[in-house]
Amino acid sequence: MSVTLVKEKYSSKVGEVVLGATAEQGGTRTSTITVGGDSALPFLHFEGETKNRPVIAMEVTDVVPAWNEMIMNQIGDVINDPAAWAKKCVDDFGADLIYLKLNGADPEGENRSPEDCARIVKDVLAAVGVPLIVEGCDDSEKNNEIMAVIAEAATGENLLIGIAEQDNYKSIAAAAMVHKHTLIARSPLDINICKQLNILINEMGLPLNKIVIDPTVAGLGFGIEYVYSIMERARLGALANDKMLSMPIICTVGYEANRCKEAYASNEEFPGWGDLADRSVLWEAVTASGVLQVGASILVMRNPAAVSVVKKNIADMTGK
């Protein structure tokens, strides 16, 4: 007996966003990355096209992070040198792009100047040919200062810069607009604020294809199903032609997964949880695979072993 598949028909698709710029386009990247463009729910190839494969950005920080040893050991000595670390991510771990987090700017910490931050960005740009994502520290006022300088120093590179939030978006949106970068718009797990923020940024004059949504995610076991429902809502909106929800989505899965106790607690502490070496990799990999299933376009990851697992998952799901 033949079975007829029930297919959904959608009136629109997810918008496409290009990251990075080659020399011809005014930047210095050896290649660019295009994300988005899907015309169905993720990986439902019989209903529509998964146009661009999801990509993995590996996280590099400008000060040595307090990550668990299993990740630190894989990264090795280069952890002291953002440029060399970025290069290792691309050459050895197969990162599609680099996510540079400038924690050193934090006034409570190193309190690096905007110029120092811009120099680090330039160093990383010089070390790798892939597109770059740049985020500041956890102090929004300081971020406005450093991102203005970084955006100018890297004019034309089409960095993906962040973050714009509902109560602090104007300064960074202006920097993105003037210096031709793409912007991360972050909302606190709230679809209504997500849409409103996109509207507000777009009203300032930044085109919709220069915005990427960061819906805020959670690690496996810590509310990922809520994340899933928010992202699903955004994706269904995009497919139903809601232009203000049609941007590709970035998920900081490495940060969230590694905050979960399951990703770092020792075997001695929880003998019943299984070997930490596997558990640590799987916690990040499964968090990433979960959000892939609901439309993540850019995964920001930390653990090289987890990256390897998720790369295979992406290849299996997309056939690319």
Binding site: N192, K195, Q196, G237, D242
Partner: protein
């Protein structure tokens, strides 16, 4: 909820004069103004301003002058199908034919034309004898139109069933029957045909036209109305349409939803 702007109609003095004098300005003014108001489509009707034998030429001219200033798709509104066809030939985007009653001769003329020009159809729930009083007979006519769409291969979402609302000041009993018809029409097929009303008709010659229009529209949308030929420049009315999208959870809420609803 789709808004079909009603204003380019020869029944209005300025449009009637424009048609007689071949003056594109008033037509183009209303094309732009209705688009700004929130129209998704522009209804185009020469009305009685043009003698029957000149209507073919008039529709071609109207479509062309509108397309000079607006990218919105058009709803070609006439009882003269040759005039509609002349308009369809020059439309840049798929249009909607307004309208076809449930009469075999007219179905045979309109449905193949819709296929040929990739156009939608507004199907009226009436025949030569006129508009039924109750929902039951309206839905019976709707079923004939749905069957015709099936027979000719018109996609169900390209068929807009119009259950025909009459002025509430003279035919009050029709208002709830039309709401009932909307609900039932949505059950006739899967996917369901879409639905439309000539909304302003409900308030003809009443002093509180705007209030009646927007109240009835909210009730009709909740009953299954997908589109209305209406005043796209009645801001309160367009606000109600936008708010219904939110309250029926068809569009994700954002504080600026009224503004976004109007963005084209």
């Amino acid at each position: 909820m789709l808004i079909f702007g009603e204003r380019i109609n020869g029944m209005f003095t300025d449009i009637g004069d424009a048609l007689r004098n071949k003056d594109p300005k008033p037509i183009q003014y209303w094309a732009v103004k209705q688009q700004e108001g929130g129209a998704h489509y522009l209804d185009v009707n020469s009305g009685p301003a043009i003698p029957t034998h000149e209507r073919v030429e008039a529709y071609e001219w109207m479509v062309n002058v509108i397309q000079e200033v607006s990218e919105l798709p058009l709803v070609l509104d006439s009882t003269n199908y040759d005039a509609i066809e002349a308009g369809l030939k020059v439309c840049k985007r798929p249009a909607i034919i307004n309208s076809c009653p449930a009469e075999q001769v007219k179905i045979e003329r309109v449905f193949p034309m819709a296929i040929q020009y990739n156009a939608g159809i507004i199907g009226l729930t009436m025949d030569k004898k006129g508009i039924p009083k109750d929902a039951e007979n309206r839905v019976a006519f709707a079923m004939e139109l749905v069957a015709a769409a099936d027979e000719y291969g018109v996609p169900m979402e390209d068929l807009f069933i119009d259950p025909l609302i009459l002025p509430v000041n003279v035919a009050q009993e029709h208002a709830p029957e039309v709401l009932d018809s909307l609900r039932q029409v949505k059950m006739l097929a899967n996917p369901a045909p879409r639905t439309v009303l000539g909304l302003s008709n409900v308030s003809q010659k009443s002093p509180d036209r705007n209030l009646i229009n927007r109240t009835y529209m909210a009730m009709a949308i909740a009953s299954g109305l997908d589109a209305a030929i209406m005043d796209a420049n009645d801001d309160d009315l367009v606000d109600v349409a936008a708010t219904c999208q939110i309250l029926l959870n068809r569009s994700v809420y954002a504080d600026s939803y009224l503004k976004v609803f109007r963005a084209r």
